[in-house]
Amino acid sequence: MSEMIREDGRKFNELRPIKIEAGVLERADGSAYLEVGGNKILVAVYGPRESYIRRLLEPNSGVIRCRYNMAPFSVDDRKRPGPDRRSSEISKITADALRPALMLENYPRSMIDIFIEVIEAEGGTRCAGITAASVALVDAGVPMKDIVVGCAAGKVNDEIVLDLSEYEDKEGQADVPIAMMPRTGEITLLQSDGDLTEEEFAKAIDLAMEGCLQVSELQKEALMKRYSTE
């Protein structure tokens, strides 16, 4: 592997600086704040709670709903507020990525709501959203099998690199965001955008998984810090 230096000076397998904080919102049942590079994301979790939308409830398990939303000022050009095709997709895949880790059967006929607000965006918000959401879920006391973590890898200048920035995402050739459960190594989200050969794809996944494990440690640290420092 060549020691290529990237546009922002990182090595091919280097993450952007990450900061995670759990329990930042007073009125939510669980919450988390996360910064990755230029991303700033706030997640609130409410529930398990009773829902009056009876048709959504399951008789033998709880359900989760997720809303991913980008603030109008989160990107350079103003984003038109409100849901759009992209945020509906991310809302869905986030809920799908988190669901396998949750033990919802403990709370039948209840609902958990997750709100992901992107305050500032700089590439990789869906992975950051998943990472922050699972910290918020733990903070809310929802029983889980594992803490889901997300991380992306991609191809820039014919090189497989970890954790794409906004520039690399736009200028690069491919983007592979994944989410996984670090204890078992199960992958709960796998998307791929761009052109990759089979080897490159395998390499990207391996690299992204490695990144996930690194982020996972930071998640754990943030959670431990919430209670042990006081």
Partner: protein, 327 residues
């Protein structure tokens, strides 16, 4: 093989032990390992591992005493919000027996009641009843909301914490196992008690809490610290003792307490006499760390007291259905 110690703080997915251990509440088995499913503290007994959550929602359990708010009046029952993902129902016959009366003349929407969970069905709907001492409607007072897992901490060892607050503030306090607390007394004292309860909730996992709260209460009400009862020997001991150890011990105590009376704060369970000889010993330890804060607190609380000179009594003492007043 076990990978954690009793009272360790664990997070979901963390491997706790190998196959020879039994998985209790808050844990699950996967691939021959016992793993935690919650963020909480490990409780190890014989070969059974449990995790006690730091935060959780109240799930109704038969026999619990709860505080609920009437949400709706229906033909033959009331809908009650019991601060849980599952709502409760109070059937009319639990209140009237065979008699027929108009429901909304007895309890109306918004009334707050002290209830017992009579039964929980498969879909976790809680059937509530009013049979038992002190059950019924609250008149006046305020409701304070805390996490249900922190209820044992608020009550303290043999009711030490709650009795101390009651004695000092002269408020009537009723604690429901669903994390709702009813407080009634002077308006000022209600607010003070509310603040104190929130403080207990926020610091439930720290050591020396009863003393800390005691200091705050005395400061707020008398304007001075309670007489100190620290002997020198103990002080020396404190310095050597790591803080974490303290924390663990207390939680151990607390848990024992919680289990002793699962029935938590039912009026009968209270024994104020025994509360006197409580946490004194271990809790002196923590006192040292807390002193710096006290100066600030004095100022803060004095200011508050000055602003509120005219105490207004709610004057409704006809509330004899509630036996949970001071002793």
């Amino acid at each position: 093989m076990i990978y954690v110690e009793n009272k360790d703080l664990v997070i979901p997915g963390q491997i706790l032990a190998d196959d020879e251990y039994y998985s209790g509440r808050g844990t699950f088995k996967d691939n021959g390992k016992v793993c935690s499913s919650l963020m909480g503290l490990v409780s190890l007994r014989n070969k059974k591992i449990r995790v006690i959550p730091l935060k959780s929602k109240y799930v109704p359990k038969k026999g619990d005493v709860v505080i609920g708010k009437i949400n709706d009046v229906r033909f033959s029952m009331w809908d009650v919000d019991i601060n849980s993902p599952y709502s409760g129902i109070l059937p009319a016959f639990e209140v009237f027996g065979r008699e027929k009366k108009e429901l909304n003349k007895v309890f109306d929407v918004g009334d707050v009641l002290f209830l017992r969970v009579v039964d929980v069905d498969e879909i976790k709907k809680a059937k509530l009843g009013l049979k038992g001492r002190g059950m019924g409607k609250f008149k006046g007072g305020i409701i304070v909301d805390i996490a249900p897992t922190k209820v044992p901490r608020l009550i303290g060892k043999k009711g030490s914490m709650i009795n101390m607050i009651k004695d000092k503030t002269n408020c009537k306090i009723v604690v429901g196992q669903n994390g709702l607390v009813w407080v009634k007394g002077d308006e000022d004292m209600e607010q003070l008690t509310k603040n104190i309860i929130h403080l207990i909730e926020a610091e439930a996992h720290t050591s020396g809490l009863t003393n800390k709260i005691k200091n705050k209460l005395y400061l707020a009400i008398d304007g001075e610290l309670p007489p100190e009862e620290v002997s020198e020997e103990e002080e020396e001991f404190v310095l050597e003792k790591p803080k974490l150890q303290n924390f663990k011990e207390e939680l151990e105590q607390e848990e024992r307490e919680a289990e002793e009376k699962e029935a938590a704060e039912s009026p009968e369970a209270e024994d104020a006499d025994e509360a006197a000889e409580v946490e004194e010993t271990e809790e002196d330890n923590a006192e040292k760390d807390e002193k710096p804060n006290i100066a600030e607190v004095i100022e803060e609380l004095r200011k508050k007291n000055k602003n509120k000179d005219n105490t207004i009594s709610l004057g409704d003492n006809s509330n004899n259905s509630l036996i949970l007043n001071n002793k």
